[in-house]
């Protein structure tokens, strides 16, 4: 057990080191930082001075170590474009992205789980087959196309929801939220829907597959034989046994959603980290790109590690499975 956890943690650290290395390579070799920070009239002396101050004259490995050291303490340097601390800029944008992801996850569970149950218990009915068929389409639709479609129908044609921005936000000191104001709540509907569509189909297919498996098992047959009402069998006994994989998958997907939200944020001009990143890419603002990569990878890796370790605690079979 302990060996498994240590192995898993070592793996996570290794992945993070590789990601940091990638971020460092981008940071170091995309454009010369000295050129970007000084103007053209700078003398050679000033250049050398800055080069020395930034530590760019030191050997590669030394530079990388100090980059990792600074990254670990949250120091990613200063944005080339805004001359502001990168971590502050990302921190300001984080609540917007996180709220979006949270609402999208919520929607996907509320909609996806019942759809999965229905398609499993009424397998032959026309509506179950329609849902199953539309789920293939749901997985295939690119999320930005879904977003544009939603804007076209609900903002441009019907005018029900705002098409961009976050609405009014409330500042809670360390967190800004849009969920407490009416305009904020209206603004989050379309982006959250378009982000959750893929999730909904994923949850639905997972619940359906698990339900079909559980419904075949002996304890369900026994419950049927005892004459327990179908509703109670399906929702109290069968569904409960399906929820474990759904919960873990949802947890694992949150990391992916945070990364993927950048597409949704671009479509809806949602002021989150993803939009910041895409703008940084356009202006080759390397410190922001590097920091965003590290932070998103960190969230992703930590969530995956936690899920894996929880699994090992709950399901003893997995402890031996790792070779």
């Amino acid at each position: 057990m302990l060996a498994f956890i240590i192995k898993r943690l070592a793996n996570a650290v290794f992945v993070m080191l590789s990601v940091t290395f990638l971020a460092f390579v981008i940071f170091r070799f995309v454009g010369d930082p000295v050129d970007q920070m000084l103007n053209e009239q700078a003398t050679q002396e000033q250049r050398d001075d800055l080069r020395e101050r930034l530590g760019l004259d030191k050997p590669f490995l030394v530079q990388f170590t100090s980059f990792v050291g600074r990254a670990a303490t949250g120091d990613f340097g200063i944005s080339f474009r805004n001359q502001r601390d990168v971590l502050d800029m990302i921190g300001e944008r984080f609540p917007a992205t996180f709220e979006l992801v949270l609402v999208a996850t919520f929607i996907s569970l509320i909609v996806g789980v019942p759809m999965g149950v229905i398609t499993a218990i009424k397998r032959q009915s026309w509506y179950a087959e329609t849902m199953q068929f539309t789920s293939i389409i749901g997985i295939s639709l690119p999320s930005f196309v879904v977003g544009i479609g939603l804007i076209l129908v609900f903002s441009v044609w019907l005018g029900w929801f705002p098409a961009f921005g976050r609405g009014d936000t409330v500042d809670l000191g360390w967190w800004t939220t849009g969920l407490l104001t009416p305009s904020g709540r209206m603004s989050i509907v379309l982006p959250a829907l378009s982000l959750s569509l893929f999730q909904i189909t994923l949850v639905m297919r997972l619940v359906r597959a698990e339900m079909l498996e559980v419904l075949r098992s002996d304890f369900i047959k026994f419950a049927r034989a005892r004459g327990i009402p179908a509703r109670s069998i399906h929702f109290r006994h069968a569904l409960r046994n399906c929820l474990m994989p759904v919960v873990t998958m949802t947890a694992m997907q949150i990391g992916g959603l945070i990364a993927f939200a950048l597409v949704t944020e671009t479509v809806f001009q949602w002021p989150g980290m993803g939009l910041l990143f895409i703008q940084a890419v356009t202006f080759v603002d390397v410190p922001i790109m590097a920091a965003y990569l590290c932070i998103v990878a960190l969230i992703f890796v930590v969530l995956n590690a936690i899920v894996d370790m929880t699994y090992a605690v709950i399901d003893p079979r997995l402890r031996g499975a790792e070779k």
Binding site: V15, F144, A297
Partner: protein
């Protein structure tokens, strides 16, 4: 007085195919047949783009500004030959879509091909030799799969485009995109091939073949590889759909194909700017074409996965 049980010659490859389980399964799946027909139509029209389209969208001289923002033909103000209307530069939407689809399909196929070659090669080596080669290759794969795919693709493609000399821009961007997409998807093939190779390696036929001195490369490619191809085939079909999607997403975000060589994603990116000015056709039709293309590919892939799965027979 010969026994008249007609002995047929060995069936040709085509005859074997018409008689195979796969073909029977295909014929009995309406959605698979439908998807295949739609996909064929999309591909054929895309590659006949220069013949079919009323205008060459890359030829700036052919664009007339007074044709700008014409609505589709069935609406008031629509004009022949612009069936689906025009964009703000007077470019025919339908022509743009046909040419754009061609670019999307070519990039999709190329990236699947590259990742297949890399994935199968690495997978065979990792599974056959084992040891440190296996360790290094699989660790690299683990790291790649631990970072979200969109992020990797965006970074690779935007960083690589910085380094492209202007002379290579035209060809270079497409090549960079292919690599950015392939960089991620080879891992999947490599894992499948590696696992299968590790099983096959211990079987008698491989032992026998090694005893007679078959070189390792020939052994891997001619003897082991054919036994690993079925799952690879399914994965490649589904990945083709995914590759088209990722390319479209990158182009939409502005790190993919440039506006002078638009893929479907670029067309949607450009059209998105006119969403609020009422010219919805500029963005809607390319989006529909992209959806049709990806849905058709995925439905074929879905069918293929079930048809080739021995457990579901």
């Amino acid at each position: 007085m010969s026994d008249q049980t007609s002995v047929k010659a060995v069936p040709t490859r085509m005859e074997r195919f018409w008689d195979s389980d796969l073909w029977w399964s295909f014929k009995s799946h309406k959605s698979a047949v439908g998807a295949a027909i739609v996909l064929l139509l999309v591909i054929i029209t895309a590659f006949l783009a220069p013949v079919l389209s009323p205008q060459n969208p890359y030829d700036l001289a052919a664009l007339e500004l007074w044709n700008a923002e014409l609505p589709p033909i069935w609406m008031e103000g629509g004009q022949m030959p612009f069936l689906l209307g025009t964009d703000v530069q007077g470019r025919d939407i339908l022509s743009g879509i046909l040419y754009g689809t061609r670019i999307s399909i070519v990039i999709g196929i190329a990236s699947v091909a590259v990742s297949l070659v890399v994935g199968i090669g690495f997978g065979l080596m990792a599974g056959y030799y084992g040891g440190w080669i296996d360790n290094v290759l699989m660790r690299i794969g683990d790291v790649l799969l631990s970072i979200p795919i969109v992020l990797v693709a965006i970074l690779v493609s935007s960083v690589a485009q910085q380094f492209l000399p202007p002379a290579f821009r035209e060809v270079g961007v497409a090549a960079v995109l292919v690599l950015a997409i392939a960089m991620y998807s080879w891992v999947q093939y490599a894992r499948v091939v590696r696992a299968q190779t590790m099983v096959e390696r211990r079987k008698e036929y491989v032992m026998a073949s090694r005893l007679v001195g078959t070189p390792a490369r020939r052994l891997m490619l001619k003897h082991i590889l054919p036994n690993t191809l079925t799952p690879i085939f399914v994965a490649a079909t589904l990945n083709f759909g995914l590759a088209i999607l990722i390319e479209a997403t990158l182009s939409f975000l502005g790190v993919g194909m440039p506006p002078n060589q638009p893929s479907l994603g670029t067309l949607i990116r450009v059209g998105n700017q006119y969403l609020f000015s009422g010219s919805w056709w500029i963005v809607l039709f390319p989006s529909i074409q992209l959806c049709i293309l990806v849905v058709a590919v995925n439905m074929l892939g879905d069918w293929l996965r079930d048809a080739l799965n021995p457990k579901l027979r």
